[in-house]
């Protein structure tokens, strides 16, 4: 039997040479199965070989290494300096609890047979034996909360849609993953697209929706391609369409591509964009669950929320709820990014501390310098200093410290970071991406950049610092959505925890 070779086709693996490695093997007559990534990105491109003892990984592999690997008997799991052993024994992976990401990096993303062989469609099959209200109740009982950032209970959203009578309802997947430091949505869409399709189908059956849209950002062309291909496969197999898995339920999916607007990750802005308009935020109420896409009741959930539904239905609410802490139940796919030695996807039950994540799992900085700050939760998340590394990864614990976990991204900065510059960038980003609907966000962000520039120049530092605090207050309480409302988090945390960077030109010169 010819051993099977697996090479990721994940965008980040491709970005560091996975295609070249695959082509080099192909030139030697060995065609690899192209998988997603396991998410150990410092080891990408990682290749895996099927052996009698299980898969053996090698990495990071460059095209130039292929000759030597073949000579060392890579296809039989032979010894080589790049040999990593069994991937699931690598500490970074071994410490994880992979529920949502159970298959990512292992299966052929477009093989339905592979998906089923690894437990796929068990959740939908069970859901089809239940009454819709019971499916919604199962999701509510699991404690699943919106993984896009807001943390709203998914089951409650679904219940509202189920209870709102309408001739047409929609399931919308928010795949506009714009937060810097996050890539879990991309990984799932590229590496295990059927889990998202299954989750959305369950959502449709549970709430009475027959149509779904996946709104994917244009920066993710590979995810768009894989999702579209997977939808075609699912449709041809009767897993989508007029009779889902031979049942009386109809459900089908359409992929829509965004156009580079960060604010479209905000749910009402996303709906406007899907309807073909400027992505301007809508005032709430009405909630999208009551009047959403095209004015119809709409479930709008993040990729990870929806991709977690299949395992909840397959294993039961209690199984999922048993992971986690406090009101944060289940697991969170945390993304370690930026200046970190071991960057990647780390799925774990809520409760692990920030310090464990950054120092133990992430291994500190990639540059080898001291960690000075981490930004958790994307461009609208707070900068935390080392003093707050005892904060457990939990929605409420972060909120209590004026931060947020957001979509689970952690960006690590070493001691060369200039925190005034980071605060300025937060305001600048808000100004670039503001939809323009509300004044605090549209005007306040530009004024924020100007005031921070005056502090950097050493102009009336005390007065301008007071002005920034006042401006942040206006943004926080006067903005329509999280873009303006949360921009104060990075700004104020930088100012609060790193005041030494806000004392005028001398610090800038030193940085």
């Amino acid at each position: 039997m010819t051993a099977r070779l697996y090479i990721p086709k994940d965008s980040a693996a491709v970005a560091v040479g996975a295609d070249d490695v695959a082509q080099t093997f192909a030139a030697r007559g060995i065609d690899a199965v192209r998988t997603g990534s396991r998410g150990l990105y410092w080891l990408e491109p990682t290749i895996e070989v099927e052996t009698p003892e299980g898969r053996i990984a090698y990495g990071p592999v460059a095209a130039e290494d292929v000759e030597g690997l073949l000579a060392a008997g890579v296809m039989e799991g032979g010894e080589h300096r790049l040999r990593l052993g069994k991937p699931e024994e690598i500490p970074f992976l071994k410490r994880q609890t992979r529920l949502t990401f159970a298959r990512c990096g292992i299966v052929d993303p477009l093989s339905l047979a592979d998906y089923r062989a690894h437990g796929g469609y068990k959740g939908l099959e069970r859901a089809l034996t239940m009454r819709p209200v019971a499916v919604v109740e199962e999701v509510t009982q699991s404690g699943l909360r919106g993984r896009g950032g807001a943390g709203f209970p998914t089951g409650i959203k679904w219940k509202t849609v189920l209870d709102t009578p309408s001739d047409q309802k929609y399931i919308v997947c928010n795949a506009d993953e714009g937060d810097s430091g996050t890539f879990s949505d991309r990984m799932i869409m590229e590496g295990d697209p059927f889990v998202l399709i299954e989750g959305m189908t369950i959502a449709g059956i549970a709430t009475g929706a027959t149509d779904g849209f996946i709104y994917i950002r244009s920066e993710y062309p590979a995810a768009v391609e894989t999702m579209e291909a997977a939808i075609r496969v699912a449709r041809e197999a009767g897993h989508l369409g007029a009779n889902v898995l031979g049942s009386a339920y109809a459900f089908d999916l359409t992929v829509r591509v965004g156009a580079g607007a960060y604010v479209c990750g905000e749910e009402t802005s996303l709906l406007e964009s899907l309807e073909g308009r400027r992505g301007q935020v809508r005032a709430k109420p009405p909630l999208p669950a009551i009047k959403g896409l095209f004015g119809k009741p709409t479930v709008i959930n993040n990729v990870i929320s929806l991709a977690t539904v299949p395992i909840i239905l397959a294993q039961g609410a209690a199984f999922y709820r048993d992971f986690g802490m406090g009101r944060s139940r289940g697991t969170m796919p945390i993304q370690l990014a930026g200046n970190v030695k071991h960057g990647g996807l780390f799925e774990a039950g809520f409760g692990i501390t920030l310090g464990e994540l950054v120092d133990e799992i992430g291994g500190g900085t990639a540059s080898g310098r001291a960690v000075r700050a981490v930004q958790v939760g994307g461009p609208l998340g707070a900068y935390f200093p080392r003093d707050l590394f005892d904060t457990p990864f939990d929605y409420e614990a972060f909120a209590a410290r004026d931060g947020l976990i957001g979509h689970g991204g952690i960006v690590v900065f070493d001691d060369t970071v200039d925190m005034l510059k980071q605060a300025r960038f937060a305001m600048e980003f808000c100004a670039i991406e503001s939809c323009g609907k509300c004044t605090p966000c549209r005007i306040g962000s530009t004024r924020g950049v100007e005031v921070l520039d005056r502090i950097a120049a050493g102009e009336k530092i005390n007065a301008n610092t007071a002005l920034i605090e006042d401006l942040c207050n206006t943004l926080k309480f006067g903005s329509l959505c999280a873009l303006g409302g949360f921009t104060p988090y990075p700004v104020m945390s930088a100012l609060t925890y790193f005041p030494e960077d806000f004392t005028g030109p001398q610090t800038l010169a030193a940085a």
Partner: protein, 155 residues
């Protein structure tokens, strides 16, 4: 990337192919840009007509989104990520270097029309930062040397 020259009938066909979709504006704009490299002003009345919108509404939608171009880009499009994860790995310096070497500002195209330099806020490659995309292909662990090589190849 060779784009087609503007031709009204070709544009009408593209618009018609998507006009029946729910919320068709963005799919139409993407399809036009894929063929012509941008959304030319002449396309605005065609879209407005097909979707029963005012020209102002179509104009408003086009200008809201960073992706839609009003002019054809250079033969190569280099996107550099300017977001936080890439900043933490020296992305700002690489951005400044790219601007200097190409002699353009963000969003600009070199005089010979060879390269357009775009800023992008996150490519989702944040654990292999700094990141770039050249003609749609992702590039990770970008260094000065790799950036120079990409620019030289494109020029």
């Amino acid at each position: 990337m060779p784009f087609e020259a503007w031709e009204e009938q070709r544009a009408r066909d593209i618009v018609a192919a998507h006009a029946g979709e729910a919320g068709a504006t963005l799919p139409i704009l993407h399809a036009l840009q894929e063929v012509f490299g941008c959304v030319p002003e002449a396309a605005v009345p065609l879209i407005a007509d097909a979707l029963n919108l005012s020209r102002a509404e179509v104009h408003g939608t086009i200008t809201f989104y960073h992706d839609f171009r009003r002019e054809t880009p250079g033969r190569h499009v280099l996107k550099l990520c300017r977001a936080e994860a890439c900043q933490s790995m020296g992305g700002d310096a690489l951005g400044a270097r790219a601007c200097a070497r190409l002699g353009v500002d963000w969003g600009g195209t070199t005089h010979d029309g060879r390269v357009t330099l775009d800023a992008v806020f996150c490519l989702g490659l944040c654990a292999t930062a700094p990141s770039a995309m050249i003609d749609g292909k992702p590039v990770g662990r970008l260094t000065e040397a790799r950036l120079d090589k990409m620019i030289e190849a494109a020029l």
